[in-house]
């Protein structure tokens, strides 16, 4: 997000899901699309199978999508900047770039060019393990497209260099003039249903709804008037990955957690657990007594999506209705109602008749949502920005002009991952999601059918590595990192690349995040889930 915002002025998906089928070439990087965004992956598969679209997949694992790919780049873990720079080096050297677009719509191209000089295919091969010839061919393929679309996900962002990775993809797309057109773009795929909406609505420490900065005195004034308060804090707050160490050190005394389960999803879990124990007060609002809720002082029962009205904003910025279908169990309340009640008891009355009334307030203080009403999205959702009641919404961003004016090229050098394999921890671990489970499993693990297909945690390892460590398919192993260890069964699979094991992170009993590294990307503050060093041995 931070990477795209720096390059274009907006961190959201530039194009729509439907646009994918209009591309000539699709580059999928660090996204196991068929498992994490299955319905969206069908757009990719249809384009490739029936419309002659070419597909480039960059992923260390042999994910399903590689079977549809014209080109599969298999980079060493954490070397994304290097291969992307390699593609751009070739595109510049062979003069395949869009000089008119660069001239008219971007800045800082010369800097980028200088940095790229040393990323020759041979040099890139030495870092990434991708054969030089493949880099050249992939570069020609992407640059040859009239409309090239880039899709990426956690495999790109969950690194200490995540922001750099994203900026590099933005560079690549601008270099070939693939922005502001149908079928093009740089498209981050959001993992959870309303990540986009949580960001849009000010669920971030530095901005109010619609990305209006808390540091801007005029914006603060506007919000103070709208909300009828004064003294809104001007200093940006803490991100989640900073809150936890601050809880540990005692600077944060209380946490109020709504519908999240950081006790399975956070990196370096053991540390999170002790941090939570240091808190004076923990409130958790959720639909189940999750691992996190069990540590709380007060648990407040909330409603799930089927029991309330509201909206979600999907990964393509489309604001869509959520409708109440059934009554909530027992005394569960909608999350907004709970917060309003707490607020009122703290002396600031919040009182809304309905979710729709809240949306009216959102529209009145949020320029990008200003034209959105429940009536307008009754049949079909609308893509923000939608600034006025008669605005049709904006499916494609950055047409004619970037949100920030000129697109900014960032000259970026490759940096190795924070933790490298060594003699003691000779393997890399990468984590991810499975088709049949979701996040920490609190919802999906309640369905027998889904559990039957994905019953428990496993450790995926290549046949070569299995031989090296003398491990049999299905046998229990212990995996340890510098931070913790877990036990699970081995799954020997061609999907894994030599030297790297994969563990799905959904399962609390063998939480992969006991192993992962909490080291953060310095800008986006996303932990390095995708690379850490581990050792593996037979479990007794």
């Amino acid at each position: 997000m931070a990477g795209l915002a720096a390059a274009f002025g907006s961190g959201a998906m530039t194009n729509t899901i439907a646009d994918i089928e209009k591309a000539d070439v699709i580059l999928v990087a660090g996204s196991n699309t068929t498992e994490n965004h299955p319905v969206l992956s069908a757009f990719v598969k249809r384009a490739v199978s029936f419309k002659g679209t070419k597909l480039i997949v960059a992923d260390p694992r042999r994910i399903k999508l590689t079977t549809f790919a014209d080109k599969w780049l298999r980079p060493n873990l954490g070397t994304d900047v290097a291969w992307i720079n390699g593609l751009m080096h070739v595109i510049i050297k062979e003069n395949l770039y869009d000089s008119k677009f660069i001239e008219e719509r971007t800045e800082n191209f010369e800097e980028l060019k200088k940095t790229l000089e040393k990323y020759t295919p041979d040099y890139v091969e030495s870092i990434t393990g991708i054969p030089a010839g493949e880099i050249i061919e992939a570069a020609r393929l992407y640059a040859g497209a009239e409309k090239g679309s880039i899709l990426y996900c956690m495999g790109i962002t969950q690194h200490t260099t995540g922001t750099d990775n994203v900026k590099s993809l933005a560079n690549l797309a601008m270099l070939c003039g693939n922005l502001g057109i149908e079928g093009g773009g740089v498209n981050p795929l959001r993992g959870q249903n309303n990540v986009q909406g949580a960001c849009d609505m000010g669920g971030l420490p530095n901005v109010y709804s619609g990305y209006q900065p808390v540091t801007d005195p005029e914006i603060r004034k506007k919000m103070e008037t709208a909300w009828g308060v004064d003294g809104l804090p001007e200093k940006p707050g803490l991100v989640v990955t900073d809150m936890i160490p601050k809880a540990h050190s005692g600077d944060i005394k209380a946490l109020y957690i709504i519908g999240e389960n950081p006790l399975v999803s956070d990196p370096d879990l053991s540390h999170v657990e002790t941090s939570f124990k240091h808190l004076d007060f923990l409130v958790v609002q959720d639909i189940f007594l999750t691992e996190t809720a069990q540590m709380a002082d007060v648990v407040l029962p909330s409603t799930c999506f089927a029991e309330k009205d509201g909206t979600f904003s999907n990964t393509e910025r489309r604001v869509q209705r959520v409708r109440k279908a059934i009554d909530p169990p027992g005394e569960a309340w909608a999350d907004w109602k709970i917060i309003c009640e707490v607020s009122t008891r703290m002396g600031y009355e919040m009182n809304y008749e309905s979710a729709e009334a809240i949306m009216e307030e959102i529209a009145s203080v949020t320029p990008s949502y200003a034209g959105i009403t429940y009536d307008r999205i009754e049949k079909e959702g609308i893509h923000w920005p939608c600034p006025t009641p008669d605005h049709p919404g904006t499916p494609v961003l950055h047409i004619g002009k970037f949100t920030r004016g000129l697109g900014h090229f960032h000259a970026i050098d490759y940096m190795p991952p924070a933790e490298l394999a060594d003699d003691e921890y000779p393997l890399y671990l990468t984590t991810g999601r499975l088709l049949y489970q979701y996040h920490t499993g609190t919802m999906t693990m309640k369905s027998d059918g889904l559990n039957e297909k994905a019953p428990k945690c496993y450790v995926e390892i290549s046949p070569q590595d299995a031989k090296r460590f003398d491990l049999k398919d299905g046998s229990p192993v212990k995996v340890a990192s510098r931070r913790g260890e877990i036990t699970a069964d081995v799954k020997v699979s061609e999907m894994a690349v030599d030297g790297t094991i994969f563990i799905p992170f959904h399962y609390a009993q063998a939480a992969a995040n006991r192993l992962t590294n909490a080291k953060l990307d310095p800008i986006a503050k996303i932990p390095e889930y995708k690379v850490c060093a581990v050792k593996i041995s037979k479990a007794a």
Partner: protein, 376 residues
């Protein structure tokens, strides 16, 4: 130019786009030509022949789904030969396999015999699980035909109940091929295809194995495409009848694609989910969106506020819990500062709720310490 692209259907002169089929022109103009095998978004095959129409000067009836409209073409969609052809097609389909909804209309003795056979095959005494939600049944009523004209034929393939989530009932399969197209052309999962030939035709996963041992990813696109009762959700089969449920349209709560779907509600329970045909998903869903609904009515749901006393949770009233939260947060805010409090809002809750959390944190707690777990 306009004059060149005109087709006459049932006496109406209609403009068509080059490349449009008779069916497409008709549907665009609200002329109802029935179909069974035709699947939106897939290549028309003309396999079931239910959409046949009479075209002037053509020697035979033509399938509307595959025949391109041409200039000067004159089409009749419900003429006598058309209706007779459709009747025969429907009668043949009804007589093959276990179509034990009322449309079979056989005399008592024959019916008892037949129903006993169905019961043995399906292990249920009830009438067809999709009664009331079946395209073939609808056609039987529309054209007033029954299955008794032709002798019933038996199915040689046993029902496949070993799969999670999906039951395959080969006795009610009409080989229209919609599931095959849904799997290969819409979802492109390439898990199923036509196997064997002639009377032995069967829809098979590779190697004629059960779905659970195949490449099937249980998206359920094939169930939604099946016009009859051959593919049915395992949990809803025989338990959910269409007239007992209400459908409420909403947005999937799993991933960021935001598929539009309908929750089927019976007695305040979500009992089935189907995709809704609008963007972004155009009717498609994945396994989580379609089958991951059991958490909603799960007994483990929290139903009362809980307060921890001496390390144990005790149920509390809302008043008690809310007062405790409000007073403790107020104390911390006054003793330390708002910045000693952090709020984690959620990618799981609505925009409205995130907005309220944002407003509460900044204007009441007086801190900007608010974030969500999306970076995780």
């Amino acid at each position: 130019m306009a004059e060149e692209n005109i087709i006459t259907i049932n006496g109406n002169e209609l403009v068509f786009e080059p490349g449009e089929t008779i069916l497409e022109v008709a549907r665009r103009n609200s002329i109802d030509i029935p179909t069974l095998c035709y699947l939106k978004g897939a290549t028309p095959t003309g396999a079931c022949r239910v959409c046949v129409v009479e075209v002037k000067e053509a020697k035979t009836l033509l399938t509307a789904c595959t025949t391109p409209a041409t200039t000067g073409m004159v089409v009749k969609t419900e003429s006598k030969p058309v209706v007779e052809a459709r009747k025969e097609i429907i009668e043949l389909l009804l007589s093959s396999g276990n179509h034990n909804c009322a449309v079979r209309d056989s005399d008592n003795k024959d019916w008892t015999q037949f129903q006993l056979g169905v019961q043995e095959y399906d292990n249920s005494k009830e009438l067809c699980p999709v009664w009331g939600d079946c395209r073939l049944q609808e056609l039987a009523y529309r054209y007033q035909v029954t299955g008794k004209k032709f002798p019933g034929t038996k199915t040689k393939y046993p029902m496949e109940t070993v799969n999670p989530m999906i039951v395959r009932d080969f006795s009610r399969c009409i080989h229209c091929g919609r599931c095959v197209q849904a799997c290969n052309e819409i979802q492109v999962n390439n898990a199923i295809s036509f196997g064997y030939r002639g009377a032995d035709t069967k829809i098979v996963a590779a190697g004629d194995r059960p779905l659970v041992e195949s490449d099937c990813v249980f998206c359920g696109e094939c169930i939604q495409a099946c016009p009859v009762g051959a593919l049915v959700e395992k949990d809803a089969r025989y338990k959910v009848r269409p007239w007992e449920t209400q459908k409420v349209r909403t947005t999937c709560s799993y991933c960021g694609v935001g598929c539009q779907l309908e929750l089927h509600v019976k007695d305040n329970q979500v009992v089935k989910v189907t995709g809704f045909d609008v963007p972004p998903n155009n009717g498609s869903l994945c396994v989580k969106g379609r089958f991951g609904y059991n958490f909603i009515n799960h007994p483990d749901r929290l139903t009362k506020p809980l307060i921890k006393k001496n390390g144990e949770f005790k149920e509390a009233s809302w008043d008690e819990a809310l007062n405790l939260v409000a007073s403790t947060l107020t104390t911390i805010k006054e003793k330390n500062s708002g910045d000693a409090i952090g709020v984690l809002t959620s990618a799981r809750v609505t925009n409205e709720e995130n907005y309220i959390a944002n407003k509460f944190t900044r204007s009441v707690l007086k801190t900007n310490n608010i974030d969500h777990c999306a970076r995780l």
